[in-house]
């Protein structure tokens, strides 16, 4: 009964969404206030109905209602409760429902927090947002209904894929979706602005928090996914340039570009049409990602047999929204005329360059991802585009980005003096170069990747420090420190996010360049040396888990006679799904991770054992967290809240130095 109610609520939500897509739009064009005002209660209703539907599905999972087809194929009575709940979005239909739930949540938030928006703009934003929701609800109701019942329910379910029964994956999909779907807000704002034919500083101020939020969520989602891959996959890889990963990277890059160009719109009333285009593209690439993943198009050769109907439906959604938006853009873009005037050397120009680099690097990912498909269709060549291509083609643009970042971040608005800025940054550059040279000298004969990572990392991080320092003006040290503490949160956000990027760049290069690997057949009780560590496999036991059997190795690591870690690598077998998994054992450290994987038993009594020492592994995700934290700091800045109409306090005196 509850399941049917959930299904019914979803149908109702679909009807509401359709109405909300039309009525406020008509109202806005005719200037009928009541027609416009109806958008807000509708957005709330739509969200509540979808939320009820989601709760109903979750309920079916929690009580293991095996008359629901989706529960049968993704759950099992023996599964821990938390994974019963996460099983809701561990599949196509359920994850789609989560997607739509988040979509309506964003729509409703725009209604709740959008009191300060002009009525027409708000009505149009909510209408566009609701149009997107309606399209995805239709997709779900017509091709992927999560509430389908089985005529003859089985005794037990087929279990969720054991790989998904992992804490790292509890939050990964929701964050990723919050990011993907968050970009729909930027899209709705862009479309509303095109329809209105007006983009001004206020619009930029409006779009930025939504984009920032979406970007923060995407950053966390991608970081979590990468961290999960690192500890779960059994050899410590963290990024594989798979189409599915690329699908999340492209919107992230576009969102980052949009974030920066919206600043130019807000501060300088320039780059307007480009920003609108970016907003359209960012969400467009979210949709393309959805299409890539759910159609199975790019993995057709050896992967899953997918329902082509679904792929076509998403392609239609994509074509309708992108086609419509880009046509509208082509017709209306010229209306947005730029006001701001600035020199070729200025913060504005640096941000333009930032946008060029981010957009082109996203384009690289796109071309590389689609090329196998294009080559097969157009040139009849069956080929692969793998990590070697992406590493070669993508890296230069990111290196360039890191190189210009500190300079661009410090250049003044309107008209800058490149030499003056470079002079301020000279100590940072000198330190970065000497650090890289030192590393280069110490690691003779290794790849240049390590020194390059050190160079970029140190340069970006010191650049951030210099920027903060210069911003405090002149005078006594104490006064300057005090002023630094009083800098607006947006400035701190910028500094922290940029610093995080520096940390991540450094960590990726460092880990790839300096990790060491040891593969051997280890005999129980026989110690072996790996770098500075002495490891010994003391025992191997077979044990039982809640819904799996495991073979657990006991490894002791010592360094200079001192105990470092007890490691317990496992090989698990999940009988319900009939699937084995590898659980690596990791000793997380500040400077390095010690990573141990247990392999097969050998006939002569030994065990295959792999150990890796991975320097700076944690820094990579720490950097991601810093980036996200920077975004949140910036989001919490007074200026955004004022913009959002949430707080209208009197200004509290001039900021130390007007910044950003």
């Amino acid at each position: 009964m509850i399941v049917e109610l959930g299904h019914f609520a979803l149908i109702l939500a679909f009807v509401v969404a359709l109405a909300q897509a039309v009525i406020p739009m008509v109202g806005a064009s005719r200037g009928w206030a009541p027609w416009m005002a109806v958008a807000q209660p509708m957005a709330t209703t739509q969200f509540l109905l979808t939320a009820f539907s989601f709760v109903a599905l979750t309920w079916a999972f929690v009580v293991s209602d095996f008359s629901v087809a989706l529960v049968v194929s993704n759950s099992h009575t023996a599964k821990p409760l938390i994974y019963k709940i996460t099983g809701v979005w561990g599949n196509h239909e359920g994850s789609l429902l989560l997607w739509v739930l988040i979509l309506t949540l964003f729509g409703a938030s725009a209604a709740w927090f959008g009191q300060g928006l002009p009525a027409g703009l708000r009505a149009r934003v909510l209408a566009v947002q609701s149009g997107i929701a309606a399209a995805f609800m239709a997709f779900m109701l017509f091709t992927s209904n999560p509430f389908d019942r089985l005529p003859v329910p089985p005794m037990d379910g087929q279990d969720l894929n054991p790989l998904l029964q992992d804490p790292g994956l509890i939050l990964h999909p929701p964050f990723l979706y919050l990011g993907y779907v968050g970009l729909s807000m930027a899209f709705s704002f862009a479309l509303a602005a095109l329809i209105e034919g007006r983009v001004d500083a206020a619009w930029g101020r409006w779009v930025r928090p939504w984009t920032l939020a979406a970007w923060v969520f995407l950053t966390i989602g991608i970081g979590l996914g990468s961290w999960w891959a690192y500890y779960e996959l059994g050899w410590g890889g963290f990024w594989f340039w798979d189409p599915v990963e690329n699908a999340s990277l492209m919107p992230w890059l576009f969102a980052a570009a949009l974030l920066h160009s919206a600043i130019v719109v807000e501060k300088r009333e320039a780059l307007k049409s480009w920003t609108i285009l970016l907003a359209i593209l960012a969400f467009g690439f979210s949709l393309i990602g959805t299409f890539i993943v759910r159609s199975g198009l790019l993995t057709s050769v050896h992967a899953f047999a997918m329902d082509p109907e679904r792929g076509i439906f998403i392609l239609m959604i994509l074509a309708a929204f992108m086609g419509g938006a880009l046509t509208l853009f082509a017709v209306r873009a010229h209306v947005m005329e730029a006001r701001g005037v600035f020199g070729t050397v200025s913060r504005e120009s640096a941000l333009v360059l930032n946008n060029v680099l981010l957009a082109v690097s996203s384009f690289v990912v796109f071309v590389g991802t689609m090329w196998p498909l294009l080559a097969e269709m157009l040139f009849d060549r069956v080929l692969s585009v793998g990590p070697p291509f992406f590493n070669m083609a993508f890296t230069p643009f990111f290196v360039a980005l890191a190189l210009i970042l500190p300079v661009g971040a410090m250049l003044p608005w309107k008209r800058g003096d490149l030499r003056a800025t470079l002079r301020q940054l000279a100590p940072a550059a000198a330190l970065a170069v000497s650090a890289a040279a030192l590393v280069w000298a110490m690691q003779t004969g290794r790849s240049a990747l390590g020194p390059l990572g050190v160079l970029l990392g140190v340069w970006v991080i010191l650049g951030v420090a210099v920027d903060l320092w210069v911003r405090t003006g002149r005078g006594e040290l104490r006064g300057r420190l005090a002023r630094m503490g009083r800098l607006p949160r947006a400035d701190w956000g910028k500094a922290v996010a940029h610093g995080g990027l520096g940390v991540t760049v450094f960590a990726i290069a460092g880990m790839l360049a300096w990790e060491t690997e040891d593969i051997r057949i280890a005999r129980i009780g026989e110690p072996f040396q790996h770098g500075a560590y002495t490891l010994v496999l003391t025992d191997v036991q077979r044990l039982e888990g809640p819904n799996f059997r495991t073979t657990m190795g006991f490894v002791t690591a010592t360094r200079d006679g001192r105990d470092v870690a007890e490691l317990r690598p496992e090989r698990r077998f999940y009988p319900a799904a009939g699937m084995p998994t590898t659980e690596a054992a990791i000793d997380y450290g500040f400077w390095r991770d010690l990573y141990v994987v247990l392999g097969d038993a050998q006939e002569d009594g030994g065990w295959t054992l792999r150990t890796y020492v991975k320097p700076f592994a944690n820094w990579m995700w720490a950097g991601c967290l810093l980036m996200a934290l920077g975004g949140l700091l910036s989001l919490s800045d007074r200026r955004h809240r004022v913009a959002a109409g949430a707080a209208r306090r009197p200004p509290r005196g001039p900021d130390p130095v007007a910044a950003e």
Binding site: G90, N91, H92, N161, L163, L164, P173, G225, L233, G234, W235, G237, F240, D242, V244, E245, A247, A270, T290, V293, R294, G296, T299, A303, F304, M306, A338, G340, V341, F342, G343, T344, E348, N355, V356, A359, V360, F363, V364, V367, W371, A375, L378, F379, R381, L383, S384, V385, G386, P387, P388, F389, M392, A393, F397, I519, R571, A577, T582, T608
Partner: protein, 158 residues
């Protein structure tokens, strides 16, 4: 790799067919005695695709075919082949699909030059835009219409 792809795909909503087992790639008995040769074998393995896997190199894969291919690479290296010869041998045997680093021949040129060309075009477009913004400075600051001048003079009390 395959497993990450599979899981992401699962998370994002694909089916659950054809799940792979745990990844345990290069095994101790495959490793060559000559470290230089082994290093070359590992580097080559990273550029070769495991044909039955999903976007996974033979260095990462634990599939039987990947193991056979790894052994094949090492066999050729021991026999004295250069890296290029090994790759050519594998392409002749399994087709272009085996290369994770696409060749630069024929239509693939488009793939390789697409990004640099795009970058150049973007730079040119950005340059044109920036110049226009820079030039726009003069008129915006200085021009007043004749009416405005007159009105200004009135206000200033001339």
């Amino acid at each position: 790799m395959r497993r990450l792809a599979v899981v992401l795909a699962l998370v994002l909503g694909l089916g659950t067919a054809g799940l792979p087992g745990p990844v345990l790639a290069v095994l101790p008995d495959e490793v060559l005695d000559d470290p230089a040769l082994e290093a070359r074998a590992r580097a080559l393995s990273r550029d070769l695709r495991c044909l039955v896997c999903r976007n996974e190199s033979i260095d990462e894969s634990n599939a039987d075919l990947a193991r056979d291919m790894r052994l094949l690479v090492r066999e050729r290296l021991v026999a004295g082949d250069s890296d290029e010869q090994v790759l050519a041998f594998l392409v002749a045997r399994y087709g272009e699909f085996v290369l994770l680093r696409p060749t630069v021949q024929g239509a693939n040129l488009i793939l390789w030059v697409a990004a640099p060309v795009m970058f150049l075009l973007a730079l040119i477009a950005a340059g044109v835009y920036l110049r226009r913004r820079d030039r726009a400075a003069e008129p915006a600051a200085a021009t007043l219409t004749e009416d405005e001048r007159r009105r200004l003079r009135e206000i200033m009390g001339d």
